[in-house]
């Protein structure tokens, strides 16, 4: 009984396939730039051809992810409703304790039109004034932290005392215990925190925020970052050197908190 023959698979085709295979193997053992580029092009072609397969697999992966996300969504929805109830409880408790709710800050943006570093007061002039609802003693800050306060207001401009001015002082809170202190500028972007008691644990890099005690500055505005701490046995307070978080170089825009 004769063996069934497979059409198109004969001696010639097999020889062709063998020689082509040998040639391609030889060609791909080379490391010349042309061959590297050829390999790259072939891999791109293979990628393009395989794209539907990858896409099909990705659909399944996305379906799995979607399932997981739905599960997470349910968990978060439950958590959210729990948090909402805590929030309501918090509001109620605050009302019972006569706490006032902190309003979100309202501010306007101002351009810096003049730097007055030569004057006795280290200050800048901004292009907003009384016509823009600016009054004296408003907080001026940038996106990083406190920069100063308005000290003189005209119709369309205001003079702002910078935080680096020698006469500038601001009450701060720092650390886990939110210990009170006073920021005093020294030179450049550096300053000192005075009045922070020695028992207060502090680490370098911690941020001092405005305390909110003063009527001028709202609470929790970043002021300065701790650079070094020294504890002297004869002194009840720590000697804390800080650097300003607000960027005083190349001042272009500032925010005035109303």
């Amino acid at each position: 009984m004769p063996r069934p023959r497979v059409p198109f698979i004969n001696k010639d085709v097999l020889t062709l396939l063998l020689t082509l295979f040998l040639s391609v193997s030889l060609l791909f053992t080379r490391t010349s730039p042309q061959i590297r580029q050829l390999k790259f092009q072939l891999s791109q072609l293979a990628n393009t051809i395989a794209y539907p397969v990858i896409w099909y697999k990705e659909v399944f992966i996305i379906r799995e992810k979607n399932k997981l996300l739905k599960e997470q969504l349910i968990q978060f929805t439950l958590m959210n409703s729990e948090l909402e109830s805590y929030h309501q409880e918090n509001v109620r408790l605050k009302e019972m304790l006569n706490f006032t709710i902190n309003q979100p800050l309202h501010f306007i943006t101002a351009n810096v039109v003049n730097h007055n570093f030569g004057l006795p007061t280290n200050s800048i002039t901004i292009d907003v004034g009384a016509k823009d609802s600016i009054v004296k003693n408003l907080t001026v800050m940038d996106e990083n932290g406190l920069l100063g306060k308005t000290i003189q207001v005209g119709d369309h401009a205001a003079l702002t005392q910078l935080i680096t001015d020698k006469n500038f002082r601001v009450s701060i809170r720092i650390g886990q215990d939110r210990a009170l202190g006073l920021f005093i500028p020294t030179h450049g972007k550096y300053g000192l925190l005075e009045g922070v008691r020695k028992s207060m644990p502090l680490t370098e890099g911690e941020i001092a925020y405005t305390s909110g005690i003063s009527e001028i500055y709202p609470p929790n505005i970043p002021v300065a970052r701790v650079v070094s701490i020294k504890r002297d046995e004869n002194n009840p307070f720590q000697h804390i050197v800080v650097e300003l978080v607000g960027s005083l170089e190349n001042l272009d825009y500032v925010f005035v908190i109303l």
Binding site: D12, S25, L27, F28, Q34
Partner: protein
């Protein structure tokens, strides 16, 4: 194919390869083009002895050509010559069916395919325009085809091209 013919073909192959070495080259867009007479030799082998022998001969001629002229692209000529060997062997199958014109057209297409693949490998990663690439392929094919035409008319009594 008996042993005597096989030995004759091997000797003939060596002679043609030696002739190929002395074929003058010409410049086109600063590219050195050497007319390929080995492909013409393969055309005759394909026409008279069929696919199997022309594929094997094409592979060995290609490998030798790669080894002598372009070690960095070793396998490129072997690949193209084996591939068109399959096509050239088809000439034997349709020897009494195709007219001279169809045969010439078919051979010209195969030459084009040969140089298309070869220059595609050679110009990979080389900043060269598609128009120059096509021109080089066409010119190389035309030159080889013209030589085939002359040889066929001079030594083979228009065996391939007109009968």
């Amino acid at each position: 194919m008996n042993n005597k013919i096989a030995i004759q073909i091997i000797i003939l192959t060596i002679i043609v390869m030696c002739i190929q070495i002395f074929i003058p080259a010409f410049n086109f867009y600063n590219l050195v083009i050497v007319p390929d007479i080995l492909i013409i030799f393969l055309t005759y082998i394909g026409f008279y002895y069929g696919r199997f022998y022309v594929i094997i001969l094409g592979f060995f001629i290609g490998i030798s050509q790669d080894f002598i002229t372009q070690v960095e692209l070793m396998g490129a000529m072997a690949f193209t010559k084996s591939a068109i060997g399959f096509g050239l062997g088809t000439l034997a199958l349709y020897r009494n069916v195709w007219s001279g014109n169809i045969r010439m057209f078919f051979i010209f297409l195969l030459y084009n395919l040969h140089f298309l693949i070869y220059y595609f490998i050679k110009f990979s990663g080389v900043p060269i325009s598609s128009s120059i690439y096509i021109q080089v392929v066409l010119i190389h094919s035309l030159v080889s085809f013209a030589i085939l035409f002359v040889i066929d008319k001079s030594f083979f009594n228009n065996e391939i091209t007109l009968k």
